[in-house]
């Protein structure tokens, strides 16, 4: 197992390096735009010269890698936050993204699991068909439609909650105030619908499969009640694929949802991404690309490894 983990981690860094190289080449060859103001223009131009932005591409990449290794420097933001390190720009926006997604997960995991289990236990009864139909609808409808619906009902129609997430200053200077939490509720709800439906569908599918397997029949034959057999035997097996999925959702909260961040104006990583493209802030864009790549790779590897830890029958890569 240890060998496998090491192998996967090395592969992760190799993949990340390849993707990073490609992204760097593609981003650096883009034309850079200078601000209109003369003084600022001269300053930025000189800084770019000093940072080696005008050297050959491979040399630039060497400098970039050297800076990362020696000083953990991923470049500088020139437009979003003038002359702030790209790393700081990114990490500064991580918290809102993580918070909104975390709230959404905390809300949707119990609901999704519960509904999924309920549907599986009541399979082929009306409760199951109602839940299955809802799942189909909620999984398919795009998240921005929920966002509009939530905004329409909670803000426009009933006036219960604010339209968008408050800025830090409006909410009392902290991400953890009640006011801030309240303003995040619409975004959290909009995120949760498809999350709940997805989780519910997965749970239902896994549990129905285990509930119809032979050892369940054996358990009943031994004299366990249906409830006992379900809780003691079926749940454990069904959790094997469900747990890694939950873990990957927890890693996924780092990435967040760009659309939801855009609609509810959450100052998070996704919004930073859109902003960096629109403002041609390429160092930040590059940073964001690396970040997204890393998160998706990490989610993949953690899922694969956690399978191995959870279920001794599965030891991937060990032959």
């Amino acid at each position: 197992m240890g060998k496998y983990v090491v192998k996967r981690v090395l592969l992760l860094f190799f993949t990340l390096f390849v993707i990073m190289t490609i992204c760097f080449m593609l981003i650096r060859v883009l034309p850079r735009e200078l601000p209109l103001e003369k003084n600022l223009q001269a300053v930025i131009q000189q800084r770019w010269e000093a940072l080696g932005y005008n050297k050959p591409l491979l040399v630039q990449y060497a400098i970039y890698l050297k800076n990362i290794v020696t000083a953990w420097d991923f470049g500088t933001s020139w437009y979003i936050d003038f002359r702030t390190p790209a790393w700081d720009v990114l990490t500064g926006r991580l918290l809102p993204t993580v918070l909104v997604n975390l709230y959404s997960l905390v809300f949707s995991i119990p609901l999704g699991l519960g509904l999924g289990i309920y549907a599986a236990v009541k399979k082929n009864k009306w409760q199951d068909s109602v839940i299955s139909t809802m799942i189909m609808v909620f999984v398919s409808v795009p998240s921005y439609v929920y966002a509009f619906l939530v905004q329409y009902f909670l803000y426009f129609k009933w006036g219960l909650l604010p339209l968008a997430v408050l800025s830090l200053a409006d909410a009392g200077g902290s991400w953890f105030t009640w006011k801030m939490f309240r303003s995040m509720i619409p975004a959290v709800l909009a995120l949760s619908f498809s999350e709940i439906a997805g989780l519910c569908r997965f749970t239902r599918a896994e549990l129905t499969e285990t509930l119809t397997s032979d050892y369940m029949l054996l358990a009943r034959a031994k004299g366990l009640t249906r409830a006992q057999a379900t809780t003691r035997h079926a749940f454990k097996t069904a959790m094997v694929p469900i747990l890694p999925m939950l873990i990957s959702s927890f890693i996924g909260i780092l990435g967040g949802s760009m659309i939801i961040e855009q609609i509810f104006s959450i100052p998070g990583v996704g919004q930073l991404y859109i902003k960096s493209i629109n403002l041609f802030d390429y160092d930040v864009f590059m940073m964001d690309c690396i970040f997204y790549t890393f998160v998706s790779l990490l989610a993949g590897i953690v899922v694969d490894i956690s399978y191995g830890f959870i279920d001794p029958r599965i030891r991937m890569g060990e032959k």
Binding site: L26, S140, V145, M258, I274, I277
Partner: protein
């Protein structure tokens, strides 16, 4: 006959049957059922999938037939005065839907301002018209007014006397000023004569009683924003909203006291001379286009017909999705077949390549392709490239698994012994076995592509908002900041994209169940 009698049968009571007939195996009456037919039979039994297929068909028809049915204009038809207007259809408005109206609470001042448009439409020669007469006008935007009631004003939050009513948003545009050449003016006059529909209305005097000289709707005398009656001594008296009230016109008159319909504004020669005229926009629209404004889904934020724009968007989505599905299918099948069939080192290398490609987040690929290629090959082809770059991986890994399953089976060995070459074994012998998986996965790709495409255009990463092309995502993102005032801008595109997604998912699931009955009810 009961059981006891049955037992006491004797031999002579029995005789041979069918002595003269040859008894052989019966021939099958019906044709054998093949794989595809079997799948079709199973698919037909799945009611929700059949319904989904019908909805998909309906959306296809909507996307392709709407531009054909609407022979009056194409999707590039733009009218900026009628932007963001609600659904309006003359035939349907008789039953109370799609009448282009919206509910609104008026202050007395606002109500008078709106009502004045209808009154002004009747008062085209300077003869006084009462409000009650004006309310009967065909061009009266205010459709219904309730008695005033105390309500909270949405703007100031104070309690105010408000009239709740209904207003036709198309007629609300009212009058506008236009600058036309002599020739055009004559044509309008001739058209007016021919049809009996009045387009030209008197110009307005620019004096202290004219509230806003650029707005052609203030044809009545008003002072400090309220319509007034001007006494002989020059003092003013505020007018109230009442049926018998007569709004005093402020029309420009010539020396003889007749109202003036045009005014020379500039230009040298006879042909190029410009004349300022005041037109009732509703009828001017009829003059320009030959029909009354009718938009079944309303108009979008720029003034295009929303139904046609949506048809355009759906067509684009479907086109992109189907192209991506076909290309991904081709690449995925070939790649997966090679990796799965040959295995070993080939498989290992190909798998590493997929690992790396699969690691690149789609949004990054799409963005980079847009930035680099959109200017050269256009936004849609570069979007296609982005989808294709990583999209085939899912298909290829499914095909690869199938090939691993089938490649060592006896019939493949038999084919190889008979001298079949690799391509023949791959495509003739193994490939048909994985057909079900492939068809299913290529159908399920469609909704995900539609979603990604709408997401990218919604975020503005892919810019598709031109006159020729639009996408549902662009329509939604245009609506996203203003839809609380114009809900139809959001509702119709949202409904159609949700329907598309739901029905394609249902359809795909139905196909999967049909091709692989053992997977029934088990969803990935």
């Amino acid at each position: 006959m009961n059981d006891k009698e049955m037992i006491h049968l004797t031999a002579d009571e029995l005789s041979f049957a069918n002595v003269d007939e040859r008894i052989t195996d019966k021939k099958f009456d019906d044709k054998p059922i093949g794989y595809l037919k079997d799948a079709w039979l199973r698919f037909r039994r799945n009611r929700s999938s059949v319904v989904a297929a019908c909805i998909i068909l309906a959306i296809f028809l909507f996307a392709f037939l709407t531009p054909l049915i609407n022979f009056r204009y194409d999707s590039r038809f733009l009218d900026s005065y009628y932007a963001k207007k609600g659904p309006r259809n003359l035939a349907l408005s008789n039953v109370g839907i799609a009448d282009g109206t919206t509910d609104r609470d008026f202050s007395e001042r606002g109500l008078l301002r709106a009502v004045a448009i209808g009154v002004g439409a009747e008062n085209w020669d300077g003869t006084p018209v009462t409000i009650a007469e004006g309310m009967e006008s065909y061009y009266q935007p205010v459709r219904k007014v309730a008695d005033p009631a105390l309500k909270e004003d949405p703007k100031s939050g104070q309690m105010k006397e408000l009239y709740s009513g209904k207003i036709d948003t198309y007629l609300e545009v009212g009058f506008i000023y236009r600058s036309v050449e002599q020739e055009e003016y004559r044509r309008i006059l001739a058209w007016q004569e021919e049809t009996g529909i009045r387009v030209l209305y008197p110009l307005i005097e620019n004096n202290v009683y004219n509230e806003d000289p650029t707005d052609a709707n203030f044809w009545y005398k008003s002072y400090s924003k309220d319509p007034v009656h001007v006494n002989a001594d020059g003092s003013v008296q505020k007018l109230r909203y009442k049926g018998s009230t007569v709004l005093e016109d402020n029309y420009k008159r010539d020396a003889d006291g007749n109202v003036v319909y045009y005014e020379y504004t500039g230009g040298g020669t006879f042909e190029t001379a410009q004349f300022k005229i005041r037109v009732l926009y509703y009828n001017y629209y009829r003059y320009l286009n030959g029909f009354e404004p009718e938009y079944i889904f309303g108009t979008d934020s720029q003034g295009y017909d929303l139904a046609l724009r949506m048809a355009d968007g759906v067509r684009l989505s479907l086109l992109v999705a189907i192209c991506v599905s076909v290309i991904n299918l081709t690449i995925g099948v070939v790649y997966g077949a090679v990796a799965g069939y040959y295995g070993g080192a080939t498989d290992l290398i190909l798998e590493r390549i997929t690992d790396i490609l699969a690691g690149v987040p789609f949004i990054v690929v799409a963005t980079l392709f847009q930035i680099h290629l959109a200017a050269k090959v256009g936004a849609i082809p570069s979007l296609l490239f982005a989808f294709v770059l990583t999209g085939w991986i899912g298909t290829s890994s499914r095909v690869r698994t199938q090939f691993y399953r089938f490649k060592n089976q006896e019939y493949v060995m038999a084919a190889r012994t008979l001298g079949a070459r690799d391509p023949r074994i791959i495509f003739k012998h193994i490939f048909p076995n994985s057909l079900g998986t492939i068809i299913t996965s290529s159908v399920l790709v469609i909704p995900s592509v539609i979603f990604s495409e709408s997401m990218l255009s919604f975020l503005g990463i892919v810019k598709l908002g031109g006159a020729d092309t639009t996408s549902l995502g662009t329509l939604l993102s245009d609506a996203s900041s203003i839809w609380t005032n114009y809900p139809h801008l959001m509702i119709f595109p949202a409904i159609i994209i949700s329907l598309l997604m739901i029905s394609f998912n249902l359809f795909g699931n139905g196909l999967r169940d049909a091709f692989n009955p053992s997977l029934r009810g088990v969803e990935e």
